[in-house]
Subunit: 360 residues, 4 copies
């Protein structure tokens, strides 16, 4: 029954551009984990690591927010929305929002039946006119789920970012219709780096009530946060989290990586690195004839249209990545551990595959 050491699995042969969640744990997060793995600590968040991590998040946002650790982004988003919605409410979001496209109905489940109302908008960003129409349409109508929350993704699912002004404008409309504002910040750190602003400038100062703050894609093993800037909305959230299976007993292991990453601003270093490489990749690829950017590359992902033959050839060479939009839109994500060599290696293969495809 005993497995041999030789059977221990190997990682993929080289780094991929499939997703920033293909990457492991950053050195800073790992060292904090190692340090936290010492002796006994009270369970369920009553430990020192959780306290310190929570304080660091408050410092990061320069305000006295309520901070809750959950295991992943789906839970952070869904619990955040559930804390704002009753079952007969609705959440307005972009049609490409992760909460709509990739969470298997988790927002509907955790809220007990709230509806997502989809709007469109360029580059993955909610169009303000469409948003306002969605707010107004059937407001007060007892036969339709009532809009209660605007959820925006920052950075967006197309690798773009909302400016402070864009957020403030959307929030103003939301306020006018008594909607709360939620931000899905699975890649919030990348957006901060890209915009070169303080975290507060694109959250509570521009009307965001609740933020899902991503840790996993940032380089942690597990652990995304729900940050309540409107502290009234956090009422009872501890109970909601527990009932929803999101209260970690050994909380220190969720908190420690945040301490490691927020101290000394390691987080900024890592997302800048990933953003920069994506920018380089984007510039080079977009200059290749036959390739066409689908959205400006503002954070760590390049969204680009490629001939299907090229896509297949890249896969044959061992590259793993996601496609979308009719199967010829390619998403290429850079991570904290992506190297310039990885980027150059991919570019070289793209060039060769393009050449081979043209030849054929």
């Amino acid at each position: 029954m005993k497995l041999q050491t030789a059977d221990v699995p190997s990682p993929l042969p080289h780094r991929q551009f499939a997703s920033d969640n293909y990457a492991g744990i950053t050195p800073e997060a790992w060292q904090a984990l190692a340090r936290a793995n010492s002796g006994h600590a009270p369970a369920y968040g009553d430990d020192a690591w959780t306290t310190v991590a929570t304080d660091l998040v408050r410092q990061m946002f320069e305000t006295d927010c309520e901070v809750f650790f959950t295991f992943n982004g789906t839970a952070a988003n869904s619990l955040a929305l559930a804390s704002m919605c009753r079952p007969y409410h609705a959440v307005i979001c972009h049609q490409s929002a992760h909460i709509q496209t990739d969470e298997c109905g988790a927002p509907e489940f955790f809220s007990g039946g709230a509806k997502l109302i989809l709007v469109d908008g360029r580059n993955g960003k909610v169009d303000i006119a469409e948003f306002e129409q969605a707010c107004a349409r059937r407001a007060g109508d007892v036969h339709f789920s009532q809009a209660r929350v605007l959820s925006v993704t920052q950075a967006t699912e197309l690798g773009t970012v909302y400016s402070s002004n864009e957020l403030a404008a959307l929030s103003a409309v939301a306020r006018r219709y008594q909607l709360k504002v939620h931000m899905d910040g699975a890649r919030f750190a990348n957006a901060v780096a890209a915009l070169n602003v303080a975290p507060k400038d694109i959250t509570w100062k521009t009307g965001v009530d609740v933020l899902s703050l991503g840790g996993t894609k940032l380089g942690m093993p597990v652990g995304d946060l729900v940050v309540f800037f409107d502290k009234n909305l956090a009422l009872d959230f501890a109970h909601r989290r527990k009932q929803s299976g999101q209260l970690a007993s050994k909380m220190r292991f969720l908190a420690a990586p945040w301490v490691g990453m927020l101290q000394g601003e390691a987080w900024l270093k890592h997302v800048r690195h990933a953003n920069d490489l994506a920018k380089e990749l984007s510039i080079v690829l977009s200059q290749i004839d036959g390739l066409q950017l689908l959205a400006p590359t503002e954070v760590n992902g390049v969204f680009i249209k490629m001939p299907k033959g090229v896509i297949q050839k890249l896969r044959d060479r061992g590259w793993i990545f996601y496609t979308f939009v009719g199967d010829d839109g390619v998403r290429l994500m850079c991570s904290w551990d992506t190297t310039r060599e990885d980027v150059e290696s991919l570019i070289m293969d793209v060039r060769q595959c393009m050449a081979l495809t043209e030849t054929n």
Copy 2:
């Protein structure tokens, strides 16, 4: 804004008997984590560590079961139950069952409204006569939630274990009433060690359909499993897990500790150690005049009645532990990292506090 290294939190000054989830990560689990933190790995369970860990679980149970990783025990229990219950069903369990007393209504939430029907029984174990009555009472009555699952905890919340025979007898009743059998195995490994049986002997061979297999209390950071011996019940479970916010993107970090613990049977070594120390603690304490065992010490917890004055004095000396049953029932849990010195130190303090209390 930068925190100094000096601010890094310290662990508690010494190990406690509060809970096995006060302990950190075992060396074997940690080394596997370290090894897994290398390069890129596919997300959402499509990685090699998850495959190996899953195979090891199948080897452990000597059968072709379906294995799913979730983040914690509340989720493992609740999703397991939800996979067997519709909202109008009921789960029969002991009145001290964790799913009833410590999960804040998570089974009700995840099932969409299923009811827990409570029965009693000695030493935290479901009484078979009471169980049968609960099965029969109002069966088919459209005005009452229909019993659908028996949930037993192995080892129990009072530190006792069900024998194979006891389980087989309960399962036979369950089958007669078309109930499925769920086992909350937050401390399943401790039970295996205590009974000195093969894992299969107290699961599928004695009628258990679904097992929640605890990893956290065993010495992992996060990660409890749902193991389906009745594979039909696993249909769609991948979707349920995702929608419920329990699908880890970097799954390798949930799987690797299992590889570390199941290889070479490290898990058995650790639970035997904890069980043995609890036995020693139990024997000594139960011989002290004025202390009285509340249940036989069969795994890693001692449940004992103490004078309230002694309880307070122990707390004043820095001991952390839980009380229950009218505040004079004390629970003392041993962990994988508890040492003989910890036990002796506690015993000495108990003796001294008893002496001081008698003197007063």
Copy 3:
């Protein structure tokens, strides 16, 4: 394919004591229905009958409450509770409460997972000391559903009534623990008649926040009300009702019977009649040797212990009724249409069956 008129079903050969919902529609309710069945009326409650009925309810309670029509008592109770509870909350109620024993988990379903916490108490009434303990136990504990509502049934499931003083005392405890007070008033009218008080005296003046006001057992075809004395709790209730499938399109047919019954106080006449007959039945039966009242007969139901042989003989003679408490507790309900002859006929059969059983 056409059915003949001769096939039209006949009613039971004589009136029964099984339940007040075996009775049909009172003449006053029927006449209002007939009057309402004329021409067109706006749907969903925007009609004149609903307005008038709502005003009559406000007059009945002498206060400006919010009134909502639902189809039945299960819905009225469950939606009322759901409007006060999040999924991680709990409702404290008597262990014999209808919401616990006869609604198939509807409160759990509509609230999305709230728990019922059961307490005991004599004659079907919540014991105040047990209630206070249940409030205090685990208050604030994140691992347990938090008590949020006290639900009392007036009249109780054992045919008794809470006095104004009893209600006020319970409400005072509830307030101290920030609980809301719900009253399941499936037979509220019977309680008003029995206590000879104004409806306000046992509702908002003694701390009831929300009342489920029964119409069906009062002699209507369908239609129980949710009456919010705490109008803040009614916020969004119109949407909750709609989403829950309880918004009638032809609302006039739910409202009209209430107009018929509340005008001229027909409701009081009918419940006094039923209460009086139950009292007579109770007095006679309780004087028969071998029969024993299980609770004082305060409204329209007699709860009495009978030899099992007698129960069987009564059934053989065509009497339909419910048993409980070990199958020898009999419930005998009087309705608005029960006659003195029905009562005498039943008494005669009881006497004869008792005599036959003794002889054997």
Copy 4:
């Protein structure tokens, strides 16, 4: 406190074209109600009226289906869908489907979070190519709600009908993707009359698994049915209905109107009448310059585009009706009690308002 008889509400001054639920109860349904209101009857569906009505429904469909009475159409639809869906499933329907546009999220609520996936199609009918794409898209993808049911409305929300062939074609696609087929038959009877087919021809013979069969719009006070042609799907439905607050205690009053309407085929007479008047209205209006039909008039509703000025003038003259599609699409519904005079009166007013508007 007593209201005077003079205060009894009056109906609207004349019949409207707002909705078929503005109409009251048909004579046949009323007479059955009157007959049913006699003596005592067992509760919760164990009465003779429910048995007879159920048998008549089975005769109507010429098959041994399972029949359940619920209070209204929202409940019938939502419970039907919930019986086929787990929370991680999805229902594919037309974007104008009532379950999407007018039930305030009831399907999501009763299913515990299932998603509606919207497709388009001409004249309110699901386009088969779009439907097939929706089936195929993301099938098996753990990150997205899995399509499980096709829900079609017959007659549609635009007053059109699916032919038997259209239904069979959709069902064939559904079968290929393992989807079940639900039919929202709020106006099913109108569709039967329009198509001049047997009810079986557009239900189980063409692949419909579950039908919501509308009674309210047909001329009953309350009571829509869920009819399971796939009897396996009805397993446990009695419990689901009870828990969902849809089990009537005085069931005879839901069942009797069905007996009245199904005996002698009164239902067909009434829907033919309404369909015929709508056809007449449609023909005349569509010949008026400046008015434009939005969909063919196949059942009892005319959907027509009118100048906004005309719409306002009609309202000023006391006509009540709904608008949609940018506020100049008018819906005019005929009911069982609409008369030729009503139609002529409306036509005259439309002509006059058109003339006045042109003059201006």
